[in-house]
């Protein structure tokens, strides 16, 4: 009887605490320019969930995007009126203060039947303020009528029917603002990752008309300094063999999934392993490099990459892992991306010693 009473007391106390401890973001004062609700920014017209951009909010895509647990993404950029981005050959473009990058994450209800619609999970904003970029995660409600700022992030149960008809389910983790900085940082500065020349150099349909994004940006006054297109780097599409060989597609996949941290001025520079597109030194790329601080992930392997031997390479073990202390990337995925794993394994397999 005593046991039951203490269990009862425990659960009543827990209930009271859980109600009492709920944090109300509306009570905190928001910084200037930061809104509690996504609708307040006025990016979209009509039903918010349709993501119909107003004039000045321009959609964009990347040739090879980040893997985020099979979430699909809808990206937009809004430059302050009359301002332009500045072209950069190697890194993300220079965007003027006031630029907002908008990234919406969603899952189809059924991947085989797009007409069944989608469920928006989160929208991430990167706002270029005078002091630097600020990252803000917004979480969509079940009714899909609004997304609300959650600085501490959130966890949402999502499920969808995959292309093979199988149901997939996931505790989707919306990052907190510190986790945003965990990837979106170079040196000590927050920076966008996606919109670079090589990633934007591709075709997108604008009002039904397919155009090269960079040419469109230049034409509409969004971009200055664009050289002739033939001189602009172009990233292959990781899963389209016609756009590049295995090595090129593996390198761009690593660049966009890992290179923001694994570069000399990125948060994983402590490892000495550099996976961004510009790394040429085989030792720093991980070839026959001993792992640094890999913890339990290194339980069966001795080197980051062993040419010809993907299963003896820590890079592969990390991509295959679902243990949060061992997997890579550290944040942003929980599932294994089987399709790109195949590509990376093939790249290592084809490496000569």
């Amino acid at each position: 009887m005593n046991k039951i009473f203490s269990l009862l007391l425990l659960s009543v106390v827990a209930f009271v605490l859980s109600v009492g401890y709920t944090f109300k973001p509306a009570q905190a004062k928001l910084p200037l320019g930061v809104k509690l609700h996504l609708s307040a920014y006025g990016f979209f017209e009509g039903k918010l969930a349709h993501l119909q951009p107003v004039a000045g909010v321009v959609p964009y895509t990347l040739n090879t995007p980040l893997f985020s647990d099979y979430a699909q993404k809808s990206r937009f950029i809004r430059l302050p009126q009359g301002s332009t981005a500045r072209y950069h050959a190697q890194e993300v473009f220079e965007f003027p203060v006031g630029t907002i990058l908008i990234k919406n994450f969603f899952y189809p209800i059924d991947a085989r039947q797009p007409n069944k619609g989608r469920r928006l999970v989160e929208t991430r904003l990167l706002i270029h303020e005078t002091k630097g970029w600020r990252a803000l995660p917004y979480v969509w409600n079940k009714a899909q009528t609004e997304a609300t700022l959650e600085v501490a992030g959130d966890t949402k149960k999502v499920s969808w029917a995959g292309v093979q008809g199988n149901t997939r389910a996931l505790d989707y983790m919306v990052p907190n603002v510190n986790e945003c900085k965990g990837c979106h940082v170079r040196g000590k500065q927050m920076k966008p990752i996606g919109p670079s020349a090589r990633q934007l150099n591709g075709t997108l349909a604008y009002a039904g008309q397919p155009k090269n994004q960079l040419l469109h940006w230049q034409k509409t006054g969004m971009l200055q300094g664009l050289p002739p297109l033939a001189q602009v780097p172009k990233a292959p599409v990781w899963n389209k063999p016609t756009t590049g060989n295995v090595a090129a597609r593996a390198r761009i996949w690593l660049d966009i999934n890992c290179g923001h941290c694994h570069r000399p001025d990125g948060p994983a520079n402590t490892s000495g392993l550099f996976l961004y597109i510009h790394e040429q030194n085989p030792a720093r790329l991980g070839i026959l490099k001993s792992p640094i601080a890999a913890g339990t992930a290194a339980r069966h392997v001795e080197y980051d990459i062993v040419p010809g031997k993907p299963m003896q390479s820590l890079l592969v073990t990390r991509l295959m892992s679902t243990n949060s202390g061992e997997r890579m990337p550290e944040l942003g995925r929980q599932l294994v991306h089987k399709e790109s794993l195949r590509l990376i394994k093939q790249w290592i397999k084809e490496m000569k010693n």
Partner: protein, 396 residues
């Protein structure tokens, strides 16, 4: 009948505990995000389970204050996101004290790019048998300056209990480290005082090592003194690819590839394989041809230490496995004898006033470069002195 109602209320209440945990995470993480420079964040007593890492980013002059080791306990055994329990990054003057971090899926507390990081009365641990290797580092400052770890406890890490990497101006003192693979591990770090610690029942008590292909190529100017290094004969349960996997179980204080190290005033008792070892990188680590890295240790001063061991066989492995010593004839100090050609004519190793309280020889040059063929117990050849390293200040 009453019982049935009670059970119903219990089953309704238990899910609320889960909600309470998730909202504790949100509450604490929000406080860390909203903290203003100069704030102290008080954490209550209790055991708190978290599924995600807690992170403090880009703040200055913050103290994270628990109610005490074992009193404020953060447990990460249900962790599904984040590679460490607590992450502190990009800041100045951060102090974390009086709490315990348990069962992180990766490292317990990581501090990266902080100038002025203090760990005080912090306990990190992984419990349970080591069949499934767990964790990695207990305390993990990396790329930091002005690092202080004092009165901390670290237990059960499959790499290092207290690790300091690619950092400078470091003091690790009055800590207790046990049942880790390495109790305290300094890597590619510069200017460190490691003193007054107890390292017991680890595979290796204290390891000072440089490793290749990282941004800081070599460390140095490390003083390891007045420590009690006792019975570090724990099985080496490091993952195969870990840098420390090559350190033999039964090691007291080992220096690998680092230069300008002073080891003095320590009590090294019952470390069955190596009381103090001085080795070139690839004797312990893996093959490397990285040209920016110096694999040779040099200017190592070992003096005023006391050595004692029981007459048991050493447990050497890896490249040292072929070394054979009879149980009562294991020299306390082992030097691999492979000298850096660039150091010719200079003092690579100096030994003075070390006391042996048993029948074992003090020292052997194990001639590692020649397959241990000509082992020489020639400590007299190393009777020299090196310039003393200065005391390390961490500005506190």
């Amino acid at each position: 009948m009453i019982q049935k109602w009670l059970w119903l209320i219990i089953w309704l209440g238990l899910p609320c505990i889960t909600v309470a945990q998730d909202s504790t995470y949100k509450q604490w993480q929000t406080r860390l995000i909203m903290a203003q420079d100069g704030d102290t964040i008080h954490l209550p007593a209790g055991v708190f389970y978290f599924k995600k890492s807690l992170s403090l980013e880009g703040k200055n002059n913050i103290t994270i204050q628990g109610q005490g080791m074992g009193k404020t306990v953060l447990n990460f055994k249900h962790q599904t996101s984040g590679a460490e329990g607590i992450r502190l990054s990009n800041g100045k003057q951060i102090t974390i004290q009086d709490l315990t971090v348990q069962e992180a899926k990766g490292d317990a507390i990581k501090a990266i790019q902080i100038r002025g990081i203090t760990f005080r009365r912090v306990e990190t641990e992984w419990t349970g048998a080591h069949e499934g290797i767990k964790g990695a580092y207990g305390l993990y400052p990396v790329f930091c300056q002005q690092v202080l770890a004092e009165h901390c406890q670290a237990r059960g890490a499959c790499d290092a209990g207290i690790y300091v990497g690619q950092s400078s101006n470091i003091v690790v003192r009055y800590c207790e480290v046990e049942q880790n693979v390495t109790g305290i591990n300094l890597e590619n770090s510069t200017r460190a005082d490691v003193y007054g610690n107890l390292a017991m029942n680890n595979a290796c008590g204290i390891l000072v090592m440089d490793v290749p292909v990282v941004m800081i190529d070599n460390g140095g100017q490390i003083r390891v003194f007045d420590n009690k290094i006792v019975a570090n004969n724990h099985r080496n349960f490091a993952p195969k690819g870990a840098m420390v996997a090559g350190v033999p179980s039964g090691s007291g204080i080992v220096v690998v590839a680092t230069s300008r190290v002073e080891i003095f005033g320590n009590e090294l008792i019952d470390n069955r394989s190596i009381g103090t070892g001085v080795f070139r990188y690839d004797l312990i680590g893996f093959e490397t041809t990285y040209d920016k890295f110096n694999p040779y240790p040099s200017q190592i001063a070992i003096y005023n230490n006391r050595y004692q061991r029981q007459a048991v066989a050493p447990t050497l492995h890896g490249k040292l496995a072929k070394l054979r010593f009879a149980p009562h004839k294991v020299p306390h100090i082992l030097y691999d004898g492979d000298m850096d050609p660039a150091q010719k004519g200079k003092s690579v190793l100096c030994l003075r006033n070390n006391q042996v309280l048993d029948q074992s020889p003090l020292f052997a040059n194990i001639d590692a470069a020649n397959g241990f063929k000509h082992i020489r117990k020639n400590e007299k050849d190393y009777n020299c002195q090196l310039p003393k390293l200065p005391k390390v200040w961490v500005g506190l």
